[in-house]
Amino acid sequence: MGLMEREDVAVFEQVVALLEPFRKAEGAITRETDISQDLKLDSLAVMDLMMELEETFDVTIPLNLVAEIRTVGDLAEAIRRR
């Protein structure tokens, strides 16, 4: 694994760990997991989750991105690009 990939995995794993308390539905979280459909998070919960992630990674994730983020993979990617 190259540095970029290792970074990517690390971010993804942290995102999954942070999603645990927000998770309402059962089943393992993968990159393809749909945040609203599978995890049953409403848009408010997603916005609050983003605030947590900004804190954890010390980055800015603009609210403008929320509409584009559908899966857990999208979320990890949004953080990695910051």
Binding site: D42, S43, L44, M47, D48, M50, M51, E54, D58, V59, T60, P62, L63, N64
Partner: protein
């Protein structure tokens, strides 16, 4: 996929509520008896959910001013200020508001919602940043969607968190515009403006303050929270509404910015909507004068706030964190809140039912708003009825029951 399919969860929640009680979002005031009493379903009902903080909706001077304007200027302006021209009363109100706030400029909007929508979406452009409180009013969120700026939320009423977020953006070249509210409409808590103003100065940001619920309520002369906390100079743009303390409908923005008037020809929610009817402008202008010359209205309001807040607290209800004209009773579940709300209405007390997602942290609230025109007897009755229902529903007095 049907047109309205994506609202399925909202529809279901609404249907469930309606199955239990008459539609709580469809209450009809059949007749108004006074600013604090209406006939709802044949029953005289005490109104504790109007936002009519100073009780000016039936003020004789305001009504007379509206009548005169109706006769002199007709029923409506039938167009926007920019396309169809301004009426003299609109300009006069703008001058009086600018004078009240001690600012060079003021623009009147057709609603408070549009004032936020217009000002916030126009001030911050594609390269700029809007920093908004996480619990912001829908009009602020909608302004963010209408505008082109990058939007960052900070934790509710948390100046330290705002500082942190501005620090992360320190190397970004765009303008930073902070948006906050004086009194938050659901729990009635106030922003720590002094601390936020410090953060604003430190980062060279701009600040928009929405005084919708604090105008006429806070400050030595009723200008709001910025006056109360002595930080008016740091508030670059003051937004407010006419639909609360001033008893009508409409919104405004006041500022000292030298290029402020440019907004009249670039701010779409100002340009592309009809201006307020002259009668509304006239009653608002008179209400502003009443607000200025009758500080006793504010004193009366705060006496009433104490009666209601302390009354609820004495009975053990969980309330919002701060005393103010918005008094919110927190309940453990939406179900309980719906039942409680209906029981209150059945006994002649109207409050607002506030459910998630409109509420912070998913709380279910009975949101009360206090009016200067409430009598002591009305408020005592509201407290007594609320306490009685609260005990029946097991919301308060648990320990007594356990002991018994």
């Amino acid at each position: 996929m049907g047109l309205f399919d994506r609202f399925a969860s909202v529809e279901q929640a609404h249907t469930e509520v309606k199955a239990r009680v008459d539609d709580p979002f469809g209450v009809r005031m059949d007749r108004m008896l006074s600013p604090t009493e209406a006939i709802i379903g044949n029953r005289p009902t005490i109104l504790v959910g109007t936002n009519n903080y100073l009780g000016l909706t039936f003020d004789p001077a305001c009504i007379e001013a509206a009548h005169k304007a109706l006769d002199a200027y007709g029923t409506g302006t039938t167009g926007s200020r920019i396309a169809n021209g301004s009426y003299a009363p609109h300009r006069e109100l703008e001058h009086e508001l600018a004078d009240f706030y001690g600012r060079r400029h003021c623009m009147v909007f057709t609603t408070g919602y549009q004032a936020n929508l217009g000002v916030i979406s126009t001030l911050a452009g594609p390269q700029d940043y809007l920093l908004i409180d996480a619990d912001s009013h829908a009009s602020i969120y909608d302004a963010c969607r209408l505008g082109t700026a990058t939007v960052v939320r900070f934790k509710h009423n948390d100046a330290e968190d705002l500082d942190k977020r501005l620090r992360r953006l320190a190397d970004e070249p765009g303008n930073k515009v902070i948006v906050t509210e004086g009194i938050y409409s659901m729990l009635g808590d106030q922003a720590p403006l002094k601390e936020m103003a410090e953060v604003k100065r430190k980062h060279g940001a701009w600040m928009v303050l929405d005084e919708a619920h604090s105008m006429g309520v806070l400050g030595q002369t009723g200008r709001g929270l910025a006056e109360e906390q002595g930080v008016e100079a740091d508030m670059d743009f003051i937004v407010g509404t006419f639909s609360k303390s001033l008893g009508a409908v409409g919104g405004f923005c006041a500022s000292d910015h030298p290029q402020f008037d440019l907004m009249r020809i670039v701010c779409r929610p100002y340009m592309f909507t009809a201006s307020l009817p002259p009668s509304v402008i006239a009653s608002v202008t008179e209400a502003l004068r009443q607000l200025r010359k009758r500080p006793e209205l504010r004193t009366q309001l705060w006496d009433n706030v104490a009666t209601l807040y302390d009354g609820f607290q004495r009975h053990g209800f969980a309330l919002g964190p701060q005393k103010g004209p918005v008094v919110a009773i927190k309940l453990p579940s939406p179900d309980l809140a719906v039942g409680f709300w209906r029981a209150l209405l059945d006994q002649g007390v109207y409050v607002n039912l506030a459910l998630p997602p409109a509420t912070p942290q998913g709380t279910a609230l009975l949101r009360c708003s206090v009016c200067a025109a409430h009598s002591r007897a009305q408020l005592d009755k509201v407290v007594a009825i609320t306490a009685e229902i609260g005990r029946e529903l097991g919301v308060i007095g648990q320990e007594l029951r356990a002991a018994g």
